[in-house]
Amino acid sequence: MKEIVKRSIEELNELLPKQKELSIEKTTPLVGEKSSLESIDLVNLFVCLEKNLKEKKNHTLTFDEILQNIEHLKTVGSLELFLTKKFENEKK
């Protein structure tokens, strides 16, 4: 999952001005006061995640699922954890 999140952030960075680019670290904030991302950036991140999950793992993710609990999007690490748990649970 780490690779998919990394790839998606790299794709998002292609759209961001240099000074706003996200560093790929677990503690990097995605939402909240400490985050520099705007709503369109979050949509783009989500679209990249959705595409990469489909391509690499054949997993489906909907926008509503990710928005159910905004805490999932707090940092890069929490997003990774959410996705790992979600698809592990689905396997079971």
């Binding site: 292609e14 759209l15 001005p17 240099k18 949509v43 679209v47 926008f63």
Partner: protein
Amino acid sequence: MKKNKVSINIISSFNHANFVSLLKNSSNFDWEVNEVNYNQVFQTLTNSNAKMWKQRSNVTLIWTTPESISSEFQKLQNKNEANSDIIKKDVDYFCSCIRSIKKYSDIVLVPNWILKQPNETSLAFAYSKGFGLEYNLSFMNYYLSEQLNKEKNLYILNSSKWLLNCGASSAYSSKLWYLTKTPFSNNFFKQVISDLSNLYESIKGLSKKLLILDLDDTLWGGIVGEVGWKNLRIGGHDHLGEAFRDFQIQIKSLKNQGIILALASKNDEITAIEAINSHPEMVLSMEDFVAHRINWEDKAKNIVDIVDELNLGLQSVVFFDDSPFERTRVRATLPEVLVPELPKDPEDYNTFLSKLRCFDKTYITDEDKIRGNLYKSESKRTKLKQQLKSLSDWIKTLDLTIIIENIKNENTPRAVQLLNKTNQMNLSTRRLNEREFNKWVQEDKNNLWTIRAADKFGDYGIVGIFSISIKDNVATLVDFILSCRVVGRYIEETMIEFLKEFCYENNVNKIKGKYKKTEKNSLCYYFFNKLKLIDSNQHSFEFSSNQKKLNLLNIKVKKPTMEKK
């Protein structure tokens, strides 16, 4: 390296925020974007006071979806019947709006229409006149190009190509559409940006000029030194042979569009040339290559030699070689040279070449069609130059004839091309589009001439332009432009002599001018410095029309009438 600034107006019927973000982060140019909110197409096009039109821009991009232009078209998406006469009127109105804002930028780009989201209609209905989406979309695009294709500096871009290259499933993003009203994916936008940059380079005369090719496993299958020319794979009833032949056909068509070809191959020269001359399936012949280096030396060195021989810059060069080693070596040694990563399978070479946009042109002049011959003559001249002792001895052997002509309609495209493409021997580096050029030339006070040259090796075509503007019996030298291919052959001195004579005959005593320094026109500085007109502190100059004549050797000069307009 500092990127060139290009100002672009963006008007679109959909959310183009991602496109703009990618454009701003792209590497070729420093894009300065001036945009209006999406879905403000007609509001912007019909408002000549809109903020966007206050300042002239380099590019205006008008990107719309078909239903945003024609509400009648929208009916088709709801499976209702549409009236193609109404659609036609809608397109007419759109075109008239585009014509009204054309004057505000150097070029206008209009991507043709594709659907904003995939919509697979019933197979039987697709081309029905009343109900078919495909029929009406094709009709709209056909009619758009009929209406706009005679407009200068306006280009209709082929959106279907981006769709095809991306594949429909990755070109569209339904998520982005429903969440942000962005119809296309970022991969799709990246293709558009790459094509846009190449197109702009081509319009500005920055596209590539010289294609240097390897031989073994690049132009033919097999290593000629090992298998002999009879066993090379070109054409015939052989899938790989056919692929190499098709690749050669496409390279030949590039040559016909003015791209010059050369060879750099590690081979025994006699063996390789015998193969080119003898193999019955070869499409390219030695005549097609203006220069070749077939030897065992470093390819990077050979490329530099070829470029020197042809008097070109390394930034004009594309190098094709199947060997990753050679590609890496050339890339590392000559970073200015474009070295595409050739596909591993030769059957993909042809498609790969067709997708490279670096040779794209927006028009082809007569000079383009015979450019290979011009450079071939150039190569012969360089070789002769090396055998002779002094430059003047060499010039004398050339039987050079120079023809100076007043600007004519048929020479305008070439003159505009020289004005916008020439960097080195260019006094003012003034850039004008054809409309601005014609407007300037038509003014009574302005005179502009073209220069043609020929010698015993061939005709160079139109190689230069120069112009003056006369006011109160003083002539100001506005343009002084000569193709770097022919610099140093006393053509530039001939231009100065003609100017003096013209001014003298018309009672204009003074000729003044100013060298405007750029990153690339030091060649022009050296020429005017050699004439003792400028130095490093003084870039403005003035000389008298009856000043002592320059030595023009034995050059024959044909001149036009000496009467000013």
